[in-house]
Amino acid sequence: MSLLDNVWVVLAVKLGLAVVILFALALVVMFAELKVSAHMQHRIGPYFAGGRWGWAQVFAEALKFLQKEDLIPRDADAPVFRLAPMVSLLGTFAVIVIIPLSPVLVAGDLDVGIFYALAAGSVSTIALLMAGWSSGNKYSLIGGLRAGAQLIAYELPLVLAVVGVVIQAGTMSMVGITEAQAQPLFHIGSVGISLPYALQGQVIGFVIFMIAALAELVRIPFDMPIAESELVMGYLTEYSGIRFTMFLLGEYAGMLAMSAIASVLFLGGYHFWGLNADWFGPFVLIGKALILVFVMIWFRWTWPRLREDQLQSLAWRWLVPLALANIAVTATLKVVL
């Protein structure tokens, strides 16, 4: 007991747990991408590594990447080049701490939770710009600038979509938002029925949030920054070995973090009808997040890439006005009802 009173010990334990859980789940997501993409193309995917279903494939690939030479181009700005993947991971890790797995299982329940998450999540913009700028490669530079333009453009609908939920919940704390969704909305007999915000009129907000999250994560159909048919690999062109793995891991961990945030904001977080949130909370939340991750993978293996101008016009001409209208309607209804 005395050990857990020490704030530094608690901090270390929380940090270790968050990192381990995030990495483990990121590997699960990587494996899911391999398998889902394969089956969506009538293939089997990894099969032999590890014996059954090829479960060890991701570990084998991680080991392979670790062995590779850590190349830094002669013209690269070496310190920035080395730092960029770490900054990319940093943003994701900073986000993960405020996600509540259950009413008590949350690394840090900030009063400004979702605000902090969005602010920390946008650090990845800087990481991608750093990577693109420091590589000393014209493709990387174009990719990095595209990433900058894209991430800044989609930051706005992402934040605006969240504002609707914040208005409806009346709090920015992640636990608070989850608990607000657990309040019974109406009663059938004596049973109170609660609905997640996606079913309480925030459908448009949810859709906007998911589209913007896809763009923030630079996933297909919004992967213009790494468009391999135009830009080789965009800002990732010069990266190899462990640093490339960090970007890759950052992408999958980011998918997970974004999906978890979306689950908390729109899908009721760790609550599910009839399940005790104290015990089943982590499974419910991770399950919801994994379903959203599956949808993201599904998008990737179905849709083609947008053009750069289509990307910008989607953000500025459609998502931002829609999100603003959503806020106006939500605020009006909140006052009226």
Binding site: V36, A38, H39, M40, Q41, H42, R43, I44, Y47, W298, F299, W301, T302, W303
Partner: protein, 173 residues
């Protein structure tokens, strides 16, 4: 009836923006649920079509060392060596005749591009396509196959299809 339905479907597609996105997602999801078409190669094997261009087989008896195949080969992957032997004359007192004997007939399958020109150009039907395909090797040099190996593949050559319009031998016209 069916025409009218298809036209209304077309109208729906043009009215609902992004209809194609969901159509594509439905397709990938259906594919996701279906059984993959992968053949687990070393365990199960795919049976190639009879006339597949797997490997070139050689009938040594039919070869006259005319070198047409070697000369027509676009990437010069056929190596032929032969010598002439004296044959006894057909009737007593006539001139002795010569016959070519095949010493070496190598095809370098590392170079071969499976165009089949040699098979087509052979005037004596000594070369055939065989659907056999499992002859990968660990080094390029091991892909050079001599006439013994090429002859072994002759057993795997399928029967040629009957000529169009021709009746089987001995059949009523």
């Amino acid at each position: 009836m069916s025409i009218r339905r298809s036209s209304s479907g077309k109208r729906l597609r043009s009215v609902v923006p992004g209809w194609g996105l969901f159509k594509g997602m439905w397709l990938t999801f259906r594919t996701f649920l279906r059984k993959p078409v992968t053949v687990m190669y070393p365990v199960e094997k795919e049976i190639p079509p009879e006339r597949a261009r797997g490997v070139i087989a050689l009938d040594v008896e039919a070869c006259t060392v005319c070198m047409l195949c070697a000369r027509e080969c676009p990437d010069w992957c056929i190596y032929i060596e032969g010598h002439k032997v004296q044959q006894p004359p057909a009737e007593p007192g006539a001139r002795a005749r010569t016959r070519s004997v095949l010493d070496r007939f190598d095809i370098d399958f590392a170079l071969c591009m499976f165009c089949g020109i040699c098979v087509e150009v052979c005037p004596f039907d000594a070369l055939f396509w065989s659907p056999e395909y499992e002859y990968s090797a660990e080094s390029l040099a091991d892909l050079l196959h001599g006439k013994e190996r090429l002859t072994q593949w002759l057993a795997t050559v399928p029967e040629p299809p009957a000529l169009e319009g021709s009746e089987p031998e001995g059949g009523e016209p």
